[in-house]
């Protein structure tokens, strides 16, 4: 933990610029931070940057070193000031404290929501960007669509999709063929499922991956240069319009028809919710599937156990989610306050690395060991508190079926080259070459 310097006194301080998108809208406020002033991270305790290319590949080591150095909360001057709790206790405390920490923006970047973005407590993509009391109203609308008994019936469709993706890999020869399990398999599963749930055209799936990249990975680029964000907005409003003309049984039509306290939601709020559903489920689930297959490629004993004892999946699924939780969320500090000796200032960023909490030895026995049938596992992969991932039941279903079908088709596979990891808040392999050693007949 370090003392912060008031932004105006920091070297290279640039006053906030409003309206720096090409259209001059005031949606984003530039934070006083120039990425070019900073090099690669040499000390994560005082100069934390989750978008450093070395972070995601080595994150568990970074967390362990910070814990061993008795640094429960790391800091960085990057992004205009950012705090990073590392322990389960500090992550949980911040996740539960919606008074001192606002969800108005949940992705750290060089821009913060500006004066013309949807104000708190609604935010641009409700309910993930919402604070109480609006949060509960928006969330209540979405919860029934993602409840366990509504998601369960999707299993045959998800299975059919996974089998079809495996079929599309073409002719493979055992011991020779190398496939990219992230690019050719994992990434397509969540895109296709959410596309079907929202009722969007199949040919737009590649576009969604582009939007996800723009939203979650290009965080060090100027807000105005991230034109994909505008394209995403325009795309969603066109889809809402199309659904208005042709209402049907899908999530988009459902959201357009529901009311909050007797009032229909504006297109802006419906659009924000649709953007959330589209963005939040894709990279995240893709990452969880990829990381799990990455693990299995290196641990044939766990792979064999899943084949021999299919019931172990109940526990294995949660252990994949614990050990390889893909999602780090973010908050903005709502008001100046002292957090366990950290002088937090209004509008400082706070990262919420749930994956780090999942590796805390005070919360989990032997946390860096993958135990396929771990019996006690209160992991926080889907967050803690009121923002628990609304798609968790769908994510679990996709992860379970994706692993089951992959190991069924390929009873043995191994890593076959360098893995490329994502950058930013969603952690998972983006290129995952595996050699197929055995193909089910």
């Amino acid at each position: 933990m370090t003392d912060t310097v008031a932004p105006a006194d920091r070297p290279g301080y640039v006053p906030p610029i409003f309206g720096d998108t090409p259209e001059g809208t005031h949606v984003w406020q530039r934070v006083p931070y120039n990425p070019d002033d900073y090099g690669p991270v040499t000390d994560f305790a005082t100069d934390f940057d989750h978008s450093d290319p070395a972070y995601n590949p080595n994150a568990p080591t970074v967390w362990k070193e910070l814990r061993d150095a008795k640094c429960p909360v790391a800091h960085s001057d990057r992004y205009g000031g950012m705090w990073v709790p590392i322990t389960h206790d500090t992550v949980r405390e911040i996740a539960y404290d919606t008074q001192h920490f606002t969800s108005r923006s949940v992705v750290v970047g060089v821009g913060r929501p500006g004066d013309l973005s949807l104000p708190a407590p609604i935010g641009g993509a409700p309910p993930i960007t919402s604070d109480p009391p609006f949060h509960a109203m928006a969330r209540r609308l979405l919860l029934p669509a993602f409840a366990p008994k509504v998601i369960e019936p999707w299993e045959p469709k998800v299975r059919e999709l996974c089998v079809s993706l495996l079929d599309q890999l073409g002719e493979l020869s055992a011991g020779e063929s190398i496939i990219d399990a992230a690019q050719q398999y994992a990434q397509h599963i969540p895109v296709s499922v959410i596309r079907q749930m929202l009722g969007f055209p199949e040919q737009d799936e590649a576009l969604f991956r582009h939007f996800v990249h723009e939203t979650l990975e290009r965080i060090n680029e100027e807000p105005g240069s991230r034109t994909g964000m505008d394209e995403l907005g325009q795309y969603i409003f066109a889809q809402i319009q199309e659904h208005r003309e042709n209402p049907r049984d899908d999530l988009t039509s459902y959201l357009m028809g529901v009311q909050i306290e007797g009032i229909e939601m504006s297109d802006e709020i419906v659009g924000g919710m649709v953007i959330l559903l589209l963005i939040a489920g894709i990279d995240t689930t893709w990452s969880a599937i990829g990381s799990s297959l990455w693990h299995l490629a290196q641990h044939p004993e766990d792979h064999q156990r899943i084949i021999d004892d299919p019931d172990v999946m109940t526990f294995a699924l949660e252990e994949f989610l614990r050990a390889y939780a893909p999602v780090t969320m973010a908050r903005l500090v709502a008001e100046d306050h002292d957090f366990h000796g950290c002088p937090m200032k209004k509008d400082d960023w706070v990262l919420l690395p749930f994956p780090a909490a999942n590796r805390d030895p005070h919360a989990f026995e032997d946390p860096d060991k993958f135990i396929v049938d771990r019996q006690e596992n209160r992991h926080a992969a889907f967050g803690l508190g009121i923002h628990r991932c609304i798609g968790s039941n769908l994510a679990r279903l996709e992860l379970k079926v994706a692993i089951e079908e992959f190991v069924k088709r390929f009873p043995r596979f191994e890593l076959a080259g360098d893995v490329r990891w994502s950058t930013g808040q969603i952690r998972g392999p983006r290129e995952l070459p595996v050699r197929i050693l055995d193909i089910a007949g």
Partner: protein, 65 residues
């Protein structure tokens, strides 16, 4: 063994329903619902403990054992 479910703490992680559907159901919002009133039958006590030790929000507790 008596179980207590704190509905205020439950955030719908759905872990108890997945591990012990004989003891927990979920409502239309995905929130947990305790199915047993009174003593947990002996054959379900191991599952009850499993539900307790996998709730991320610590919403389930054992009152008497």
């Amino acid at each position: 063994m008596l179980l207590r479910l704190d509905a205020e703490k439950c955030q719908g992680h759905n872990r108890c329903y997945a591990l012990a559907p004989e003891l927990f159901d979920v409502d239309e919002l995905g929130q947990s619902v305790l199915l047993v009133e009174g003593d947990v039958p002996e054959e379900l006590q191991a599952k009850a403990r499993l539900a307790v030790s996998n709730c991320p929000e610590h919403a389930i507790s054992i009152l008497e054992d």
